[in-house]
Symmetry: C2
Subunit: 382 residues, 2 copies
């Protein structure tokens, strides 16, 4: 027997926002739009190019808005992640990461038929694999050497190592050495503004030192790309970066919200999980229908959002697979617990892996669903 | 310009297992099969029905194997999660959870056209919503009252509350009160075997007390459903449960692996993430291509698996979005770090939310890909 039964959509354009099925991932489009404009204006003012990171959202609908407002292209973190963006019409993609092995090198080389593609290296074996793949495909790639500016993850240690890789890149006419990638993920979530400022300064100093070594050897760095949403004001002012890669600023998750900010460049929470109370049987708490499968908790539990601020009376205190436990804050009354079936909005702890759980991002404006964007790169980590 | 470019598959049947693209989710089919058989034999021996939980795998291919080996049906945790299982031909599904609101009640009632469906309640409002929805759809539902046996999540407190709900259920001819659900998630991961035994005994005692209250009131409990992979040997021996709901036993994640076991009923690790070394630029560590978007870390970081055991020399020490950091264990030499492009297998910390990241589960036997099963309920948390 064939079953024709299909799951109804969680939301459709025109629907009232407070009737979206739960749990769903919701984007406040007005707030999102202000975030996009603010970052573009800051980059324009600094004379630095903006290449927003798509790993934060995996959603071509967002990249197309960013490019329409002035972004020069996008970053992706994995080769496979770039595929739906190429298909959606993005024509300039930097893969801000090393690729391992001939299968992925071949995919990068194929992608380069359809868009301008760049990729990072920190080892001659990666350069050689890219050279073979592009020769086979008959395509060209731009290549960046990644330098370690303090995170201790990927990237070579110094200018001498960059020069060795640049020489190897230069040996292959189908590869073009474009410059340096310098990114320090660890400083993005240092809580204090001064700590982040000092951390970003150290990363910029290390980058500047490598640039100087290259210049002394007669190698110009056309592009220096890096930076993130937590350090962007310092990255823009550093004089080192020609291009910045922030991603999370479009959403501002709770982890970024927990940073303190002293500068003028600030972003607002635009991303929420709509959830509903599914059990009130325990008297001292309620259970909501969004748990570990509806949000990433690696960077902390979500905030309960209420009239433009984190709730003063309720905390989301524990996430099980499909349940969230909501309790009164210490000292608050259980009388303030919401009733069965009522809805709340959560600000997720970490946006990137949360987006990676959803197939759709529901755009809302003025209390009405305006768009349902596919999270087309969801799950594409190869 | 239309782009015809599509992402090549990560794996195809017949392919050598060590050429699967990374990161990918891999199931050792022989080990999986032994786990399925062991649980079925234990349930059969105890005279208890096995209704494995599909929230652990979200994969109809697995449920069909379990049912073919003797399972009476499956559990799902959300209404939407059940849809692909109904479509795949599963005809008996218990939704082991409360459903919030009329939209979900309507979906449950629709599903009941295609399969025998049961659902939990812990509030009269839920009963009334199910009554309205089934009346509208012209379908029937089995209903379980969930009792709180110590977790403090969903479920009513005592027999009196069960009786009140049973009376409400009985007022609707299209609803049938089938019995009790009694599940305590918190005891599944108590590390010590004796601790889990004692925790399971307390949960069974609470369940038994409610059953006695119901019997004293002349209400028979046809089915008592509950239990999990960490407590199953005690659940089976308790005399309280007529049906058990374990899910993770098919995989055995690292969190279950960290439990100690003293009894005869044991399961083996069958689920792995295939990952590859993508950077060796930092001398004291290597970077692999599986991070937060390729595994859930809410219950701890993955184990590196090597020749049937956790690696004695290497640790996966940190997960970023798309990077994993692998370092020598304390005292081990950096000379043992694997080279660029080499592969390793990880046992994920928590299987349920890890499966929820992947669209496909690659089944391997004898070093060859045998099956590529869709994780068809991935992302279905509504």
């Amino acid at each position: 027997m064939s079953i024709s039964f299909a799951l109804p959509p969680a939301a459709q354009p025109g629907q009232a926002a407070d009737t979206i099925d739960t749990p769903s991932l919701v984007l406040d489009l007005d707030t999102f739009s202000r975030n996009v404009d603010r970052m573009q204006a800051a980059a324009d003012h600094a004379g630095v190019k903006l290449r927003p990171h798509a790993k934060a959202h995996k959603c071509p609908g967002i990249s197309l808005v960013q490019i329409a407002r002035g972004a020069v292209g996008i970053c992706c973190q994995k080769v496979s992640e770039a595929v739906p963006f190429v298909r959606a019409g993005v024509r300039d993609i930097h893969i801000s990461n090393e690729v391992a092995g001939p299968v992925k090198a071949a995919l990068v080389a194929e992608l380069a038929r359809h868009a301008r593609i760049s990729v990072c290296v920190d080892d001659v074996a990666q350069v050689d694999a890219l050279a073979v793949a592009t020769q086979t495909a008959g395509t060209r790639l731009d290549v960046f050497v990644e330098i370690n500016v303090g995170q201790g993850r990927c990237g070579v240690a110094d200018g001498a190592a960059v020069l060795a890789l640049a020489e190897r890149i230069g040996a292959h006419p189908q590869l073009t050495m474009r410059g340096l990638q310098a990114y320090h993920g660890g400083i993005q979530h240092l809580r204090g503004w001064h700590e982040r400022r000092d951390g970003a300064a150290r990363a910029a100093d290390r980058t500047g030192a490598v640039i100087a070594q290259l210049e002394a050897a007669g190698v110009a760095c056309e592009v220096v790309t890096g930076g993130g949403s937590g350090s962007v004001e310092f990255d823009l002012a550093s004089g080192v970066y020609t291009e910045i890669q922030p991603g999370s600023y479009v959403f501002m998750d709770a982890d970024y919200g927990a940073n303190t900010y002293a500068g003028a460049l600030r972003f607002e929470h635009s991303l929420f999980i709509a959830t509903a109370v599914m059990s009130v049987a325990a008297r001292d708490r309620v259970v909501v229908d969004a748990g570990l499968k509806s949000m990433a908790v690696d960077s902390g539990l979500p905030w309960i959002w209420n009239d433009g601020a984190a709730s003063a009376t309720l905390d989301y205190v524990a996430a099980n697979d499909e349940h969230g436990i909501v309790m009164p804050k210490s000292g608050a009354s259980t009388g303030g617990l919401p009733p069965l079936g009522s809805r709340m909005m959560l600000v997720p702890g970490h946006c990137d892996p949360t987006l990676n759980l959803y197939d759709e991002l529901v755009g809302v404006r003025g209390g009405v669903v305006e768009s349902v964007w596919p999270v087309a790169a969801r799950g594409l980590s190869r």
